[in-house]
């Protein structure tokens, strides 16, 4: 019995250290390297996958789900967008709110991704101290026509590696842009009202025709 117990303990320790070793490189990855890696993986897939180019919504969502979501801190993002109302929400409401907001952002991002054709991304040098725990990664999307589109990320260090918690497109931060909408929805119908509005929006997006995103 004792032997088995010891064996089990050893195995657990060994397993733990192996899995630690496996996640360690990701945790040490520099924030800009992380964002660069994710975006090049996602863009390459989006450009080369025929289903995605044809507007297959499900494929795009799968791509977003597997490649991007593990690196986004939705709870933080939602709490910032809700601002002072976040504390007034019960843990249950907080959970529902993050889930609905997350779904909405997945739909939006998927829509954007299926429009990618020949664009390339260029990263700017990271202006940060190695000891910083919150940094801004800056990049720009070079379009086939017109000015380049600035695309920046706010990234924070968490125990499980760097996580994105805000995105800036064309100079506007996502959290800031949703903030007053959230506030006015909450003032109309409380936090539950906001959750309801978000979930209705998501239902509408889910039920639209599959090819909608590629219809120009």
């Amino acid at each position: 019995m004792k032997l088995i117990k010891q064996l089990m303990a050893c195995a657990t320790v060994a397993f733990a250290s192996v899995s630690f070793a496996a996640t360690a490189p990701a945790a040490n990855e520099a924030p800009d390297a992380l964002v660069k890696r994710i975006s090049s993986e996602v863009l390459d897939t989006a450009k080369n996958d025929k289903d995605i180019q044809a507007g297959n919504q499900k494929r795009v969502m799968d791509l977003v789900e597997t490649k991007i979501l593990p690196y986004v801190d939705f709870q933080r993002m939602t709490s910032l967008a809700a601002g002072r109302f976040w504390r007034e929400a019960s843990p249950e409401q907080q959970k529902q709110l993050s889930t609905e907001f997350r779904t909405l952002l997945i739909y939006t991002y998927s829509g954007a991704l299926s429009q990618v054709k020949n664009e390339t991304i260029e990263f700017k040098p990271l202006r940060a101290d190695p000891s910083d725990t919150e940094v801004e990664v800056r990049s720009q999307v070079n379009m086939t026509r017109g000015e380049p589109v600035p695309l920046n990320y706010r990234v924070e260090k968490t125990p499980s590696g760097w996580k994105i918690y805000d995105i800036n497109v064309l100079g506007a931060w996502l959290v800031e842009t949703y903030k007053s909408t959230f506030a006015s929805e909450i003032s109309k119908g409380g936090i539950d009202g906001l959750i309801k509005t978000l979930s209705e929006k998501n239902k509408k997006l889910a039920s639209r025709p599959i090819k909608a995103a590629s219809a120009k």
């Binding site: 709490s79 002072r84 976040w86 504390r87 829509g111 801004e136 000015e147 100079g171 506007a172």
Partner: protein
């Protein structure tokens, strides 16, 4: 510098108009958007115009004309706009950018066949976009309240005041004969709308309230353009990145009121550091 004079009168103007709006009973809850009632009405009007005329025209334009023709049209008007961009860059003291814009116009107008080809971008001279509203902003004039203009869309009081000069400075205004000018103007507007078709689909997906989403996005975008993507160096005090918010993480969610003060002070250097990244 005589910056203080205009900004004072702006404030007066803003104050006067805010009062007027409040009297009219359409003061919105957002301090940057006191004319929300009026703005929403114009927004809806613009939306209708877009729905019945502009969007269909742009959709046809985009699907019927070959890509190189659209690029050519876009480049041609873009080249004309570069002239005013150059002037504004000089007015803002950005000599290097201004010179680069002058070079762009010179190259594109000659080797680029009157601007139809954007050879300057190929040669590594990046396109900029500056207008007089941005120049005023750079000089320190605050934007004033948000304003939606009929047909022209989102703007601010400052940018609306700058608009007549932008229009005067547009070389296309002086094209002769008038018929060519009018046709050109229509093509230009349709071409610009065509460039935004994908973006407007996205907007529809993302926004809970399109009016608010457009407004909050536009105001941030404008501010960021004035300082070319950097933080406003003239900002009176560094706010934490998310104002009126203590950046609550779940663990500290039930901090008592009294403890918020030191937290806010703590976040100040962090914001400073962020800004200087």
């Amino acid at each position: 510098m005589n910056i203080s004079t205009p900004s004072v009168s702006w404030r007066k103007l803003a104050l006067a108009t805010v009062t007027a709006a409040a009297l009219a009973g359409c003061a919105g809850p957002n301090p940057r958007d006191p004319y929300e009632g009026y703005n929403r009405a114009v927004f809806n009007f613009n939306d209708k115009v877009d729905e019945v005329a502009l969007k269909p025209a742009a959709t046809v334009y985009k699907s019927v004309l070959p890509g190189f023709v659209q690029t050519g049209v876009n480049n041609f008007f873009g080249n004309l706009a570069d002239v005013w961009t150059a002037a504004n860059n000089f007015m803002q003291g950005k000599g290097e950018k201004g010179m680069s814009d002058v070079m762009r116009v010179a190259l594109n107008s000659t080797f680029g066949l009157l601007g139809v080809l954007d050879v300057a971008s190929e040669a590594g001279l990046q396109k900029h976009k500056e207008d007089f509203g941005q120049t005023l902003g750079y000089w320190g004039v605050s934007s004033g309240p948000y304003l939606v203009l009929p047909l022209l869309g989102p703007s601010t009081v400052r940018d609306t005041m700058a608009l007549p000069l932008d229009i005067k400075a547009d070389p296309w205004q002086y094209t002769d004969p008038v018929r060519v000018r009018n046709v050109g103007t229509v093509v230009r507007v349709i071409d610009q709308r065509a460039g935004l078709l994908d973006a407007s689909t996205l907007l529809e997906d993302a926004a809970l309230d399109r009016y608010e989403f457009t407004r909050d996005g536009f105001l941030q975008q404008r501010e960021s353009k004035i300082f070319d993507g950097e933080d406003n160096p003239r900002a009176k005090k560094k706010k934490s990145a998310y104002e009126d918010d203590d950046d609550v993480k779940p663990a500290t969610a039930d901090t008592p009121k009294g403890k918020e003060q030191p937290q806010a002070i703590m976040s100040e250097p962090a914001a400073e550091k962020n800004a200087s990244l």
